[in-house]
Amino acid sequence: MRALGFIFALFLALPAVAEEVVLGLSSDQVSINTNFDGSEILIFGAVKREEAIQDDPRLQVIVTVAGPSKPITVRRKEKRLGIWVNIDAVEVDRAPSFYAVASSTVLGLALSDTEDLRYRVSIPRAIRSVGAPQNISDSENFTDALIRIKSKANQYQLNEGTVSVDEQTLFRTAIKLPAALTEGTYKARIFLTRGGAVVSKHETSIYVRKVGMERWLFKLSRENALLYGIMSLAIAIAAGWGASAIFTVFRR
């Protein structure tokens, strides 16, 4: 019995990952301070393997970085009484605030459709929209619009061919983070694929947070709104009064 169990355990261990990711990040923390104007994270690593490099199909690497997800309402304007007004709205259940996919080749080649469905890698798959209200028949137009608007703001990025892979072992890519960035824990995923199938997957977290004055003000405004309001008034009055007092001095 025990021997059988041992053999069984061995079998379970056998299909263990033949190729594994050893990862490096230029930084696992992005700080939003007063002069924050976007940032870039370098994601690089090596493939650890215990056997000879397989040449066909070639190794492909896909890197995704996702910001915290939130439900988002997408609204569409229509012309009513001569002016453009928001009429229809579709709530997208989960949409990451930021999402970037970088791949070593065209995404469709690096990843099969079924694997994409399973791991939610491509941008449309990273968004989850369950159902639109009954009166809206074209809900896909709303999710398309979400992707279009977010892509325009560089908040959704599809960077095909931007992961460089050397000797099927070393890989690196740079992900640009835009200036308008939401705080939170960002999830970075690295997929190694061969022939469209994922052979190995690695995950790590990047912390994006406001620091210093930005953090202090933001926290205060949410956690103690009354105090923040009073403080805003006091600071503004003091600044306005002070500036005009300085001017009166100069005028003399």
């Binding site: 928001n86 953090r215 009073i230 503004a236």
Partner: protein
């Protein structure tokens, strides 16, 4: 060229600090030249540079408190504030501001707040700008004849009940009209992020019959408290007051106002008013076009309501 981007903690956008100082300065120059608050120009300008309307409105309310503060002190020194009238207007104003923020928050949940704010701007800027333009054109024509329109001393307002004596203004009138004026200004302050002086001052002169010399001080007195109340309401219900944005605009504004006052002294009143009218109509036109022309992007994103 040094670009100094600054990340605004509440608006969550990165903008050029010099652009904000410049905008503050520009509006400050205008408000110094024309003796107006400038909120009605600043808020739409903030929309144009990409500040979310909700943040623009709330922050502008905060800024108006500050920029009116030194003004009202000067009026207190000159004893040109009718405290009693100011208090009646203020009571109305607080009620109006509370109503305004309720409407604002309701429409925000419906995704219609941008439309409401922009519509209010188009209507008010259009009416005020148009009236000012016509009036100053007439004034320029009539300068030579030297006629002055007499202030109406008795109108229908004197028939209303709840009369009260306002010594500083030399009036004995019902409290109902000033209360209504106060409510109207309060609603505007909350929805549009303005002080409302441009509505209140004409109403005080033509409707209530107050003497011109106490009008500005009294309206500033009311504006400070109403916009302070509005700021608190926005800060505690919407979390949209951006203090960094407010301070930058303010510093630019105070400097600009000093320059503007000096330019204003050298120009004729009618010329000033016609210039201001054209500015107001220009901003109004730009906002109106945004509502009337088919937008490039029909779709927009918003936080899902209901939490």
């Amino acid at each position: 060229m040094v670009t100094m981007q600054i990340y605004l903690p509440i608006a969550e956008v990165s903008v050029n600090a010099f652009l904000l100082l410049g905008l503050g300065g520009l509006v400050g120059i205008l408000s110094g030249m024309f003796g107006v608050g400038g909120g009605f120009l600043m808020t739409p300008l903030l929309f144009f540079i990409g500040i979310p309307p909700a943040v623009a409105v709330a922050t502008e309310a905060n800024q108006i408190v500050a920029s009116s503060f030194s003004g009202v002190l000067a009026h207190f020194k000159r004893k040109t504030v009718d405290l009693r009238m100011g208090t009646v207007l203020l009571i109305g104003g607080l009620v109006g501001a509370a109503l305004g923020v309720m409407v604002f928050n309701y429409l925000k949940a419906q995704g219609q707040v941008d439309l409401l704010v922009k519509l209010c701007y188009v209507v008010f800027l259009g009416v005020i700008g148009g009236l000012m333009f016509i009036e100053s054109l007439n004034a320029i024509r009539k300068t030579k004849s030297g006629k002055k329109i007499a202030r109406k001393k008795h109108n229908w307002i004197h028939g209303l009940p709840f009369k009260m004596r306002f010594r500083v203004s030399g009036l004995y009138i019902s409290v109902i009209p000033p209360l209504i004026v106060g409510v109207a200004v309060g609603i505007l302050a909350a929805i549009m992020g303005v002080g409302g002086g441009f509505i209140m001052v004409p109403a005080m002169i033509y409707l209530l019959g107050m003497p011109t010399k106490v009008v500005v001080g009294t309206s500033l007195f009311q504006i400070i408290f109403v916009t302070a109340f509005t700021t608190m309401l926005h800060a505690t219900t919407n979390f949209t007051v951006d203090i960094v944005l407010a301070v930058l605009l303010l510093v630019g504004g105070v400097i600009g106002a000093q320059i503007g006052t000096r330019i204003g002294v050298k120009m004729k009143a009618e010329q000033l008013r016609i210039l201001l009218a054209m500015m107001v109509l220009l901003v109004c036109g730009k906002l109106a076009l945004e509502l009337l022309l088919e937008p490039v992007e029909l779709y927009s994103l918003g936080a899902a309501g209901g939490h």
